[in-house]
Symmetry: C2
């Protein structure tokens, strides 16, 4: 364990789309775990859309990163040194750690990883925060009922791919938007989506929805925003539910983006739109974890950690 | 009862803001009530924002008017001839009737009017559809809690003025937007609003809200849309509730209006936005009617039918 420790630092706040200039790789020594802490060899780290918000110098739900900080986020790896009796060297854990070869985690804030269910990366995906976000966002805010049409944007992503599969398990017709034919094929052929729209091969999303969701939209799980969402809002059925999980199309915007006004579209269908944050469900995480593990175990929910990179 | 009957007809579909060209006044004979019907001398008729939608040749929640039709809407008046044993001549009733001196109402669809509580016009306002809309929209979709800040657009209107007063009765801080100093004075001096903003004397609504709603916005009851709503959405507190009752700023739009994107603003506060239609509450109308009557009776809720014309 005397390797050098490579760490990614936040070098400057990006304007618009981030480039490598915002990040700096430094080498140093591995940190020393204190009492109650674990030294973890990081095997996978999660680069999540919400992190774009942390790069801004503005209060939001996730604390902003300071320039000069080590970047942190969800990581999974194995314990190499334990100063806690909760874990021993060799255990697999996940937690909020540094983008580095080695990170220190507080043993109380780390969670054990059961690699018998799925490999390490799945614990940052379907069995991690994205899976739980899909679970609570769809079931709580979306309230899917059998026969409903559920539309998902960012459908091939870590959250969207799980949303669609849970919707399918709930007896819904599932339609996904994704950005390549490879992704849309994966959604329909491997994940059981009823239809998938490659948003890069058409710009008439309303017409594409008329084909893919001929009975309109009962639930919309939105990870993206922008023109896809503009189109979906024109197709909302009576009592439609919209879960706003992400708006990644707008995260690099400087200033306020404009688009078609949507509030007038909510009145006739009496639609409901709900902003989501997974942290609100922390007391119910175990419910999601158990069900997601069971679905992954039985093969009812598929996942991949290569296909959509 | 042998006067001529003046009737307003829908003469042509307007584009943009309607003018008198869309309406035509004709004279004819009073209609004859058939079995089960009432002939009613109309004393007041309700000209409501939703009617702009009925002037379009497009499906929506309210059936479109056909060119050549008599205009219809909420009316209140007295029975002059009854072909039903539910009412007799001289009774006051309200219902959906013609914009005319005389209209026929189905006795089963008319509702009795108790003028001991308030005069006839109030039965098209605080004790009518607008009052019920305020009641259910605020309490059901807005879920106001004591100490919440409730912001209302179109606050001096038939719906908004009742929303603000019910919010006040629920222990909320109430802020209204209205279009003249006379209206804002009425809101704060007569109706007990904590603050009111004349949207015609400022265009920095965000700054006006910082003064009037220094703790942010917990509930927004929106009758209007447009720039007022754009500003309010930037001030939503955690778990804010937004009731979309109307979007009158956009009813004359031809084509789709654009504005600042609001969905990104819903995530951090986990805000909920709900489209409203009063018809969904029809089975609970009596609950609203009773409470509104009691509030009007006790003076807890004030109304006027002249001040804001």
């Amino acid at each position: 364990m005397q390797e050098t420790n490579r760490e990614w630092y936040f070098a400057e706040r990006p304007e618009g789309e981030p480039t490598l200039d915002s990040f700096e790789l430094r080498e140093g020594d591995a940190p020393e775990p204190k009492d109650g802490e674990l030294l973890v060899r990081v095997r996978y780290l999660s680069v999540d859309p919400y992190m774009r918000g942390r790069m801004r110098d503005a209060e939001s739900y996730a604390e902003p990163w300071d320039v000069g900080d080590v970047l942190k986020g969800g990581v999974v790896g194995e314990v190499v040194e334990s100063e806690s009796d909760r874990y021993e060297a060799g255990d697999h854990v996940t937690g909020n750690g540094a983008w580095a070869d080695y990170t220190v985690l507080d043993a109380d804030e780390a969670a054990p990883v059961d690699t018998s269910v799925a490999g390490l990366p799945a614990h940052l995906g379907v069995l991690g925060m994205p899976g739980r976000t899909a679970y609570f966002g769809l079931l709580d805010a979306g309230e899917p009922k059998p026969g409903d049409t559920v539309v998902v944007s960012g459908a091939a992503g870590a959250v969207g791919s799980v949303v669609g599969q849970i919707a399918r398990l709930n007896g819904c017709r599932v339609v996904g938007f994704a950005g390549s034919d490879e992704k849309t094929d994966w959604l329909t052929e491997d994940l059981g989506f009823d239809a998938a729209i490659n948003y890069k091969s058409t710009d008439d999303y309303a017409a594409a929805l008329d084909d893919a969701a001929p009975d309109g939209v009962d639930v919309y799980f939105d990870n993206v925003g922008g023109p896809i969402t503009d189109a979906v809002f024109t197709k909302l059925n009576l009592d439609a539910r919209v879960a706003i999980c992400g708006q990644i199309a707008h995260y690099n915007d400087e200033g306020v983006a404009t688009g078609p006004r949507k509030l007038p579209l909510l009145i006739a269908p009496r639609a409901r739109v709900q902003g989501l944050l997974i942290g609100d469900y922390v007391t119910r995480f175990e419910e999601a974890n158990e069900r997601l593990r069971a679905w992954v175990n039985s093969g009812a929910v598929s996942y991949t950690h290569l296909r959509c990179v």
